[in-house]
């Protein structure tokens, strides 16, 4: 068979699901096993992307998918190169910069699984000391290499989250869960210290539309309702009454039931509270003159137009708050190749990357959030990854209608037409084992990490965690680098 030597840019869940699927469809025991090589590149030193640096610490079950990824990594045809930043400007000085052009000659196939790493901001709420994107919070509590400074929780009693998705509820839950409950999870000690000093008493979760449009899922809402020492400020019964009778999806009706029932702790019985503030759209944030005062958030009141868009009613109100956290979704990086600003992610058709003129770029693919935008849970990422693998195999074995997952759908005539007119950017024949010399040198220096490095760090993090009676104690790159240097023989 013609070789498939695939470079994957990004080593998050989508990337690993693609790799693991390809490896199992072309099993090691098969006669052509050696024609498949998969090299995963990540600009972070550790693999797993959002599974390590996004999943909330109190959702450890979600991280079980890494067992499958670890399994894939035992296949010698898969290699991982951490701390290699392909193409875009690296946010981390220690990551090895490598242009896409320098990578291309070494691979017959390239897959972009770079995710959506840029938070979407609110035009009325520029970042400041009073307003930060939720991603900074997530990066803080997961000890992401971007190292945002910790939030000043000891001086914060009122937090306002803008956006009503699951990221927003994750942040709210982290702020309102007693730190002792979080201590057994993968929450870094410095994060726990700050949470223990937190003065947060109330979290307002603001959305411009109503309960039926909220993006959070029932699991996350239920967790809020069950917080051990917080209660929800009851919703205006009129708000819930007005949506009765509408034709609801299963999820909407279950969400409504939860909202009607309210939190496990009755209102007024707890010091800490939270609220869902529907039909409010921020129009500005006035920062205080004295640092001891609160900032003032102005909210336009909204209603839904016939197409369920939020439109202002003309009324407005203000909310005094210490910290505004915007959680309005994410997009891919502007500088990513084949990025489409109108979409907020790469331009693709069935996983094939398409250039600005609409031409398929042969053997270049995208999967996960880089291809479909920042939405969906791990299950959707997995299904998308499997569908992209079907596309890759269809292209590699023309004439065979490969369909290994219901998600990929039958091959369409349009797929074939697009493929016929494809742009050629990658070589057909390459040295299957070669990697760019910069990466080779980086590995020798210890600047570029491989999967074995990660295994050692992973085991050490778990060992440190055991000593502290918790899931794991994370290392940052400095610690991991020192650890690897010391223990490398």
């Amino acid at each position: 068979m013609a070789p498939i030597k695939l470079a994957v840019v990004g080593a998050g869940p989508s990337s690993f699901y693609v790799a693991s699927r390809l490896l199992s469809l072309l099993p090691r025991s098969g006669p052509h096993a050696s024609s498949l090589k998969i090299h995963l590149y990540d600009r972070l030193w550790a693999p797993y992307g959002l599974v390590r640096y996004g999943v909330a610490p109190d959702h450890p079950e979600v991280k079980n998918c890494t067992h499958k990824f670890d399994e894939a990594a035992t296949d010698p045809r898969l290699r991982f190169f951490g701390n290699v930043n392909i193409g875009t400007t690296s946010p981390f000085s220690y990551a090895l910069p490598l242009s896409l052009e320098a990578l291309m000659p070494y691979y017959t196939h390239i897959l972009y699984s770079t995710g959506c790493t840029v938070p979407i901001l609110h035009p009325a709420l520029p970042p400041s000391r009073y307003c930060i994107p939720a991603l900074s919070m997530v990066h803080w509590y997961t000890q992401h290499p971007s190292k945002p400074s910790p939030p000043p929780l000891d001086r914060t009693s009122h937090v306002t989250l803008i956006g009503q998705g699951n990221v927003s509820l994750d942040v709210a839950r982290m702020l309102l869960t007693p730190p002792d409950h979080l201590a057994k999870y993968d929450v870094p000690m410095p994060v726990l210290d700050i949470l223990r000093r937190s003065a947060v008493q109330h979290v307002s979760i603001v959305g411009r539309r109503g309960p039926l449009q909220a993006a959070f899922t029932t699991k996350e809402l239920r967790e809020m309702m069950n917080l051990p020492d917080s209660s929800m400020v009851p919703l205006d019964p009129a708000l819930l009454a007005q949506v009765q009778g509408a034709s609801l999806t299963r999820q909407q009706s279950r969400t409504l039931q939860l909202l009607q029932k309210g939190s496990k702790n009755k209102p007024g019985t707890t010091a800490k509270t939270w609220s869902l503030d529907f039909f409010r759209s921020p129009t500005g944030l006035t920062t205080p003159v004295s640092p001891s005062d609160k900032a003032r958030l102005t909210l336009a009141h909204t209603t839904l137009d016939p197409s369920s868009r939020a439109v202002p009613t003309g009324e407005s109100s203000t909310l005094d708050t210490d910290l505004v956290i915007t959680s309005l979704g994410h997009r891919s990086e502007l500088s990513a190749p084949w990025y489409d600003p109108a979409l907020g992610h790469l331009r693709t058709v069935s996983g094939r990357v398409v250039n600005a003129d609409g031409r398929v770029v042969r053997n270049v693919y995208a999967s996960g959030w880089a291809a479909m935008g920042a939405r969906g849970v791990l299950a959707s990422t997995m299904m998308d990854a499997y569908a992209v693998v079907d596309t890759i195999l269809r292209d590699h074995f023309p004439g065979e209608d490969v369909q290994t997952t219901a998600a990929s759908g039958p091959e369409s005539a349009a797929d074939k037409a697009a493929e016929a007119d494809a742009l050629e950017v990658l070589p057909k024949e390459v040295d299957l084992d070669a990697i760019p010399p910069e990466v080779e040198a980086g590995l020798k220096e210890g600047r570029v990490t491989d999967f074995e490095d990660w295994r050692r760090v992973d085991a050490e993090e778990i060992r440190r965690g055991e000593e502290l009676g918790k899931e794991r104690e994370r290392m940052d790159w400095e610690e991991a680098h020192n650890f690897l240097t010391k223990t490398r023989t």
């Binding site: 072309l26 006669p31 067992h67 901001l121 009325a124 994107p133 411009r208 239920r222 759209s281 849970v377």
Partner: protein, 219 residues
């Protein structure tokens, strides 16, 4: 080597099904990940599986590889277990297998190489093991708990008789039940309009600003 040979190999199609130049749909059955080492000797695995598989099973060739990870369930002696029919999303029978009382559908699927994922490994934190049951069997089961329903909310191709495979434990009266894999399509997770985020009262588009997550610091 031609690509066709390889496709035939990895799909493990019996050669009679692959005619040169003839297009056909290859529905590839996956081998389960080799997460754990099987205690079976390969020959036993081969025999045990052969008995349960149709003559032209496409999974046969997979036995040339090391024994795969099973679902941690023990297979009953043929004829003594509870029968479960697994069907694909189009309703075609994949396999009829036998399992014991108390075994769950996800583990059974793993044991018999049915392509049902369990991303969270049965901890009710994902919906990847979603299956659709025949109505009669569905009604015999206790109602799903809240946590299972919360996950089913997010399952693709949800029906009135959907369950998470990991939460369905076999009882004798479920003998002969059918578990159908859902008909998930790509469209189910890509058609939530890209425009939804850009809509806000009084604002055009939130997407027009560049922002690097690392440029911001608290204080």
């Amino acid at each position: 080597m031609s690509a066709r040979t390889l496709v035939g190999k990895f799909a493990a199609c019996p050669p009679t099904r692959i005619a040169f130049g003839q297009r056909q749909s290859l529905r590839i059955h996956l081998r389960r990940p080799q997460r754990c080492l099987s205690s079976h000797a390969p020959s036993q695995v081969w025999l045990a599986r052969s008995a349960a598989l149709p003559v032209f099973s496409r999974t046969r060739d997979f036995h040339s590889s090391p024994a795969s990870c099973h679902g941690g369930v023990t297979r009953p002696k043929p004829g003594e277990g509870i029968k479960v029919h697994f069907k694909d999303s189009k309703g075609n029978l994949l396999k009829t297998v036998e399992a014991n009382e108390g075994d769950d559908i996800l583990s059974i699927a793993h044991e018999y190489d049915i392509d049902l994922e369990g991303a969270c490994e049965g901890s009710v934190a994902c919906s990847t093991c979603h299956v659709i049951l025949d109505p009669e069997s569905y009604d015999k089961l206790p109602e799903p708990e809240d946590d299972e329903n919360d996950m089913l909310d997010m399952a693709f191709g949800l029906t009135d008789t959907s369950r998470l495979g990991c939460q369905v434990r076999l009882t004798r009266d479920l003998d002969g039940m059918t578990a159908t894999l859902p008909a998930a399509t790509r469209n189910m997770f890509v058609d939530e309009a890209d425009t939804s985020l850009a809509r806000v009262a009084g604002a055009a588009c939130w997407d027009c600003q560049n922002y690097s997550s690392t440029s911001h610091r608290f204080m």
